[in-house]
């Protein structure tokens, strides 16, 4: 019975399409969740840290990772790479387990975008990771073009220095 309650709580707390994202809870959901939380006798170890914190202290997550994920998705959907550097900067500022969650998601969804995110993460030391750009170029050159357009001219000039001018 306790495991069933835990599964139900987990289902209410997370998004169905991507279980690493936390749901925005309505008032009704909050009342329901609180009832279930009080009925639960134990706190398991192998669960999401945010859910664990909620079961222990009753505090909800700050939803910042969800915002970052949504931003990453909007960049990919609308191909607007102007805000991409700031989005990736926010991604880096997230806890490590959230970064790995999001990166695994994008690795399976679109490898070129995943490579671009990785390249942007290492933009200050990109010469070591220029093969990421090459991998993304091989997968989806149009996406790489859009990404490079969103970068500053000075960074693009630096990247060009690593390419053979024809």
């Amino acid at each position: 019975m306790q495991t069933k309650i835990l599964e139900y709580i987990n289902g209410l707390f997370h998004e169905s399409y991507f279980p690493h994202l936390h749901r925005r809870l309505s008032r009704y959901d909050m009342i329901e969740l609180n009832k279930l939380r009080k009925s639960l006798n134990f706190i398991p170890e192998n669960i999401c840290p945010e859910l664990k914190e909620y079961l222990a202290e009753g505090t909800l997550p700050n939803y910042k990772p969800e915002q970052v994920f949504q931003s990453l998705q909007n960049v990919y959907k609308y191909k607007n790479f102007n805000i991409f550097p700031t989005v990736v900067q926010e991604l880096i500022s997230l806890p490590n387990h959230r970064i790995s969650d999001f990166m695994t998601y994008w690795r399976h969804r679109d490898l070129s975008y995943y490579n671009i995110i990785l390249f942007q993460q290492n933009i200050n030391n990109f010469e070591k990771y220029i093969d990421l750009l090459e991998a993304a170029k091989a997968e989806n050159p149009d996406l790489v073009r859009l990404y490079l357009k969103g970068l500053d001219v000075e960074i693009v000039k630096k990247i060009v220095d690593f390419y053979e001018s024809t």
Binding site: E127, K128, Y129, I130, D131, L132, L133, E134, K137, P141, V144, R145, L148, K149, V153, V156, K157, I159, V160, F162, Y163, E164, S165, T166
Partner: protein
């Protein structure tokens, strides 16, 4: 005068010259009748005003003259009468001398005044003045331009930013095409799955187990012994 009257007058004159007094009287009476005196027609009024020392004096004496117009109306008109009284030669000479002296003095004064008011300017000073004027004009033009620039400062900035953006975009497009069309000079291995070269240090080599050493040395010894025997 008619021709007959003239002949009559000539005859009367001849008789008078001959000594006829009655002919002379008649001649004079006819002559007077034919040429009446102008003094009788115009009444002159004597000038009463005192004349000044100047050569020309204007007198404004109102003289009332009655003119009978064709319509029979009478009009009063006031006229200014100018009377010039000629002076004697000595007076004229004196006056001319005085005039000349006055004119000389005036001319002197005027030159003095000119020199006092406007100093003589040397050519170098003239050049300086011209330069100063030119610089002033330049400054004015520069100020005007500055004002114009200040007025259009906001719009100019916006235009400049737009132009900058366009240039940057074009430059960026060229660079992106280079990146997409060409290959990297040397693709460096990324650190996340970079194979680490394992190099053995001397201590590590020495730490190789003895068994491996002995086997190795045993083989070398065997080979060396075989070679020696073959040589003998």
């Amino acid at each position: 005068m008619k021709v007959l009257d003239k002949l009559k007058l000539i005859k009367l004159l001849n008789r008078a010259i001959a000594g006829d007094k009655s002919a002379l009287e008649e001649y004079l009476s006819i002559k007077n009748n034919l040429n009446p005196k102008q003094e009788d027609l115009i009444e002159e009024k004597p000038a009463k005003e005192e004349l000044s020392e100047t050569l020309i004096v204007e007198q404004s004496q109102p003289s009332k003259l009655e003119f009978v117009s064709l319509r029979g109306e009478i009009k009063d008109q006031e006229e200014k009468v100018v009377i010039e009284k000629p002076k004697s030669l000595s007076d004229l000479m004196e006056s001319t001398k005085q005039n000349e002296e006055q004119s000389k003095e005036e001319s002197k004064v005027s030159f003095k005044q000119m020199f006092e008011e406007e100093k003589i300017i040397s050519p170098s000073e003239l050049i300086q003045v011209e330069e100063i004027k030119e610089t002033d004009e330049e400054i004015n033009t520069i100020d005007n331009k500055d004002n114009l620039i200040k007025e259009n400062d906001g719009t100019n900035k916006e235009i400049n930013e737009e132009i900058k953006n366009i240039i940057e975009d074009k430059e960026k497009d060229k660079l992106i095409e280079i990146i997409l069309s060409s290959k990297p000079k040397k693709v460096p291995d990324s650190s996340y799955d970079k194979p680490v070269k394992l190099e053995m240090s001397d201590n590590e080599k020495r730490a190789i187990p003895e068994q491996h050493k002995s086997r190795f040395s045993f083989l070398i010894n065997l080979i060396s012994q075989v070679i020696k025997k073959i040589k003998k």
